[in-house]
């Protein structure tokens, strides 16, 4: 049996409050209250607690740990993901995979680790005045995170699902490289998206959060952060509602946290939503705006032989060929990766119904799935979406898909089909309701050239939500400054993917780790000096 270090730590007395079990209201006091326990909240908790500051972590999701992770979609999606893995944009044209559990998306991501691309940092320096964020400056922070989280080259042979990208890319002259992963002693199972049952994944759940708990930090799970209470330029308290069950039903108890400093780290969508509900000052109307998704296209391929895309590390190969082919602010570029193939995710991603759908499902064993993640936020026609609040305070992201995006989507479908056929595909089916499948590259090219891609018919998905509390040197351009400090409220920071002023152009976890480490270290220094 695998040990469960979190359960062992809790047995030794680590402080965890499951708010759903509270019989009465609770009041907590801390030096720093961190709201959210994902990539940003986890690193912030570790860095701040390591300097002796008293930390309280607030998490809306449940505390689920390795011994709970049974590699079943039926259990993982309702308990570990926002909205049961069916979070959607306002018009429902984009499905969003985002974590909602202790460890946030790091508990369920596919372990792909990239430093923030140089072109992205350069754009931030030039466009948003973030002049400190040079490659050299950030390299030190990325290195710290890479060491802590065992981010390293993955030398095990890629599974066939990823090998198709490598093989096809080589044949058509598209450079494909290996993805670095945050794993230690990985069993190469392929179930990263359902929570790692062996603790090989070096997520926040297995690293920074236990480190903070071991230092006496308090973790409150199943507590929804409702609003920050503030006056003048200072926040005094956070008010939370206890949840019950695994979903969104409210429990009876309330939790109130007072602190010297508040770090918002609920992830893009939930972080701007908390600030919107709290009605914090937003004199230039930046809050919730410029929220990005890396809107992604899916292309399936019938390979005629065994692929078994559920087995083996889910993402080990990538290509930036189509990101590097044009300037960052030119036509929208895209990154190519593979995506794992499990029954539920595949059944809802593949098009059609009845006979057609059944044919696809029965061929799942020999199906390869490639994805193209589009780099949004760098061009005037890519302003991203806006987070708004529904009447009950629940957030919703309004994100329109325009011609600028669909131009990239068409190129992405063509690129993926060409690579898949070059790798030996017998049939390629870009996921659009009007495409039954193409039997060769010429047919795919002709068919895709004719097709006018559009929302809904063309399936668009996202696993990377970024922005909404953008950082910028000027308060006119962003919600926080380059250190994540709120422009108007002095004891309020945002430390998560919501501070990115554009998308990253790569899977974002390492960008969040590095930037948060830098900003949390600075905050800790300031707080220690008083």
């Amino acid at each position: 049996m695998f040990v469960d270090p979190i359960k062992e730590g809790l047995a030794k007395g680590w402080l965890h409050i499951d708010a759903s079990q509270l019989g009465k209201d609770a009041v907590l006091e801390a030096d720093v209250c961190i709201i959210g326990t994902g990539a940003g909240g986890g690193i912030a908790a570790d860095v701040l607690s390591s300097t002796g500051l008293k930390v309280v972590m607030i998490e809306e999701g449940m505390l689920k740990t390795s011994s709970d992770f049974r590699m079943l979609e039926s259990e993982a999606y309702p308990t570990l993901y926002q909205e049961s893995a069916s979070r959607k944009t306002a018009d429902k044209a984009i499905n969003i995979l985002q974590g909602r559990t202790v460890g946030g998306s790091t508990t369920v991501n596919w372990t792909s680790s990239f430093r923030t691309p140089a072109a992205t940092l350069k754009h931030w320096r030039e466009r948003f005045g973030l002049t400190d964020l040079t490659d050299e400056h950030m390299a030190g922070w990325f290195k710290l995170a890479e060491q802590l989280l065992s981010i390293a080259d993955w030398t095990v042979p890629a599974n066939e699902n990823n090998s198709v990208l490598e093989r096809g890319g080589q044949k058509v002259g598209v450079k494909v490289e290996r993805i670095r992963r945050n794993v230690k002693g990985c069993y190469n199972l392929g179930y990263c998206g359902m929570g790692c049952p062996t603790n090989a994944k070096q997520s926040m759940l297995t690293t920074t959060i236990p480190a903070a708990l071991a230092r006496g930090a308090v973790l409150v799970s199943r507590a929804r952060a409702d609003r920050l209470l503030w006056q003048g330029s200072r926040v005094s308290a956070l008010e939370c509602t206890a949840m019950r069950g695994s979903g969104y039903d409210e429990g009876a108890a309330r939790v109130r946290v007072t602190a010297k400093h508040f770090v918002v780290a609920g992830g893009a969508i939930n972080s701007p939503a908390l600030l919107l509900r709290s009605k914090v000052p937003d004199p230039y109307g930046r809050l919730g705006r410029r929220t990005f998704l890396h809107p992604s296209l899916i292309s399936g391929a019938e390979m005629g032989g065994k692929v078994e895309g559920w087995s083996g590390a889910p993402q080990t190969m990538y290509s930036d060929h189509f990101l590097d082919a044009q300037p960052v602010d030119g036509p929208m570029g895209f990154k190519l990766e593979a995506a794992p193939v499990h029954p539920v995710l595949y059944a809802i991603s593949v098009n059609g119904m009845a006979e057609h759908h059944r044919m696809r499902i029965t061929n799942m064993t020999s199906t390869q799935v490639m994805i193209a993640l589009c780099r949004d936020g760098f061009h005037p026609e890519s302003e991203g979406g806006t987070v708004k609040l529904l009447a009950d305070g629940f957030p919703q992201l309004d994100y329109g898909l325009n011609r600028y995006f669909f131009d990239a989507a068409k190129r992405a479908f063509l690129a993926m089909a060409e690579i898949q056929f070059a790798a030996g595909a017998k049939e390629v089916f870009p996921v659009d309701e009007r495409i039954d499948g193409y039997r060769n590259w010429a047919e795919a090219k002709a068919g895709l050239d004719r097709l006018d891609l559009r929302p809904f018919s063309t399936r668009v998905a996202s696993a990377h939500v970024m922005g909404g509390c953008a950082m910028a040197a000027s308060d006119k351009d962003g919600v926080v400054n380059g250190f994540g400090r709120h422009h108007q409220i002095e004891n309020l920071s945002v430390m998560d993917g919501s501070v990115f002023p554009t998308s990253i152009g790569a899977n974002p976890q390492l960008s969040i780790y590095g930037l948060t480490w830098r900003n949390a270290a600075r905050l800790a220094g300031e707080m220690r000096r008083g």
Partner: protein, 171 residues
Amino acid sequence: MWTRRRVIFVGVTGALAAGAAVVLPRLRTSGAAPAGAGLVVNHSDMLRAVALALLGPALAAAGPPRDAQIDSVLKACAALIDNLPASTRREIGDLFGLLAIKPARALLGYGGDWPGADDKAVNVFLAGLRESSIGLKQQAYFALHDMVLGSFYADSATWGATGYPGPPKLA
């Protein structure tokens, strides 16, 4: 320029909006969100017909085993709904409510009854939703598609035919 196609489009959406206003006074407002079990029980004939049409050959031949498969799907749909935020549960309630009222669902493209519905007619109806240029219809199609197909394939009993062996055993 007002082409005939545009006029029809506006006419249909206008009628849908009016229908929704009459049938669904709760739309986009707060209030108690419906529970999954209640929604599924109240709309079981519709969900059964839609599941039969969406799943088609994935199901056993008509008879008790197929009935059990559909019951499992409906149960899983109820559990899924219970894990969604109140706003989404209300929207699903609104969609089911719309499909329950004959004139409303006729506007959406299906004027028949749900009990004993013809699979092929329901397939045509669903394809019409999917291929529509109206957002509400497309949303309805994808909501039903994802809910039913996701619920079906979440069940380990369905994996045999897909070649998926299930998760590996850990020592």
